[in-house]
């Protein structure tokens, strides 16, 4: 018997690591990887709640989150390729044309 709170604590810890990566990392690919880490943390909370409430909906939400994450990864990486081809750098801090 593992308490539900342990799963939620693990989920919260992974989500906070993802937030930290999203905010602190410099290169655009690692920022994108951090977003995937946050999605994984939320998936764990979905499955844990679904198991605690004895419902299949938690698993199905995770399935749809994975589908959307796959589409998002394909489009997002294509955008990264286009941006890097135009700008020649992976550094997110150098992408500030709107500010200048």
């Amino acid at each position: 018997m593992v308490p539900l709170a342990y799963y939620l604590a693990l989920s919260a810890a992974l989500f906070c690591l993802g937030v930290a990566g999203f905010l602190f990392k410099q290169d655009i690919i690692t920022v994108f990887i951090s977003i995937e880490l946050m999605l994984n943390a939320v998936n764990l909370a979905f499955v844990a709640f679904g198991h605690a409430l004895r419902q299949t909906d938690g698993n199905l939400f995770v399935f749809f989150v994975m589908v959307v994450a796959a589409a998002e990864a394909a489009v997002g990486l294509a955008i990264i390729i286009a941006v890097v081809r135009n700008r020649g750098t992976l550094d997110v801090d150098s992408m500030q044309q709107l500010k200048d």
Binding site: V2, A12, L14, Q26, I29, I33, L37, M66
Partner: protein, 187 residues
């Protein structure tokens, strides 16, 4: 036994997440994420979600991360030289992040309490997931295929090289003059 398995793989997942943050090269971050995903797949198995566990390995660790690694190789991505950060981020970033983590932890553990979870509930096996997917969630399931089609088209359009009109061999030079810069240079 379950608790020991949970703790071991939770530790692996958190260590992978921390390593993702600490590495400077994106390929190491991507491989750390694969570690996190594998550990989370074991946690899903502990929760009795076999379908999600294997989808996690096949789709996430298999397909999506291969896409990431391919893009890292295509772009020949290396370490980004870290420029000096803003002072606000340096002073406020870590305290605010710690506050967020503490808030989430206290909210979760406070509202849920110590309610235990039984392992392997037979009602949420792969058969039930498939049944719900093709009956109650049939329309969202079909909509995801449209979403994938649009995603594929968008990825191809965005990642394709910009199209340049190529002059055909043996064509009159006037035909090339639709480029305004070239026309201006000739004038």
């Amino acid at each position: 036994m379950q608790l020991a398995l949970f703790l071991v793989f939770a530790l692996v997942a958190v260590a992978g997440g921390v390593n993702l943050l600490l590495q400077r090269h994106p390929i190491y971050s991507a491989l750390s994420l694969v570690t996190v995903m594998g550990a989370l797949a074991v946690e899903y198995l502990l929760l009795g979600a076999e379908f999600i566990a294997f989808i996690q390995i096949i789709v996430y660790a298999g397909a999506i991360m291969v896409l990431f690694v391919f893009v890292i190789m295509v772009l020949n991505a290396g370490e980004v030289a870290a420029p000096p950060k803003s002072r606000v981020a340096a002073f406020l970033g870590l305290p605010l992040l710690t506050a967020l983590a503490l808030l989430l932890l206290t909210q979760f553990t406070g509202s849920i309490g110590g309610a235990g979870l039984a392992l392997g509930d037979p009602r949420v096996g792969p058969a039930e997931v498939g049944d719900a997917l093709f009956h109650r969630y049939l329309l969202p399931f079909e909509v995801t295929s449209v979403l994938f089609l649009v995603g594929i088209l968008g990825a191809v359009v965005l990642a394709a090289r910009p199209h340049r009109p190529r002059p055909a061999a043996g064509q009159a030079p006037e035909a090339l003059a639709e480029n305004p810069a070239a026309a201006a240079a000739r004038r």
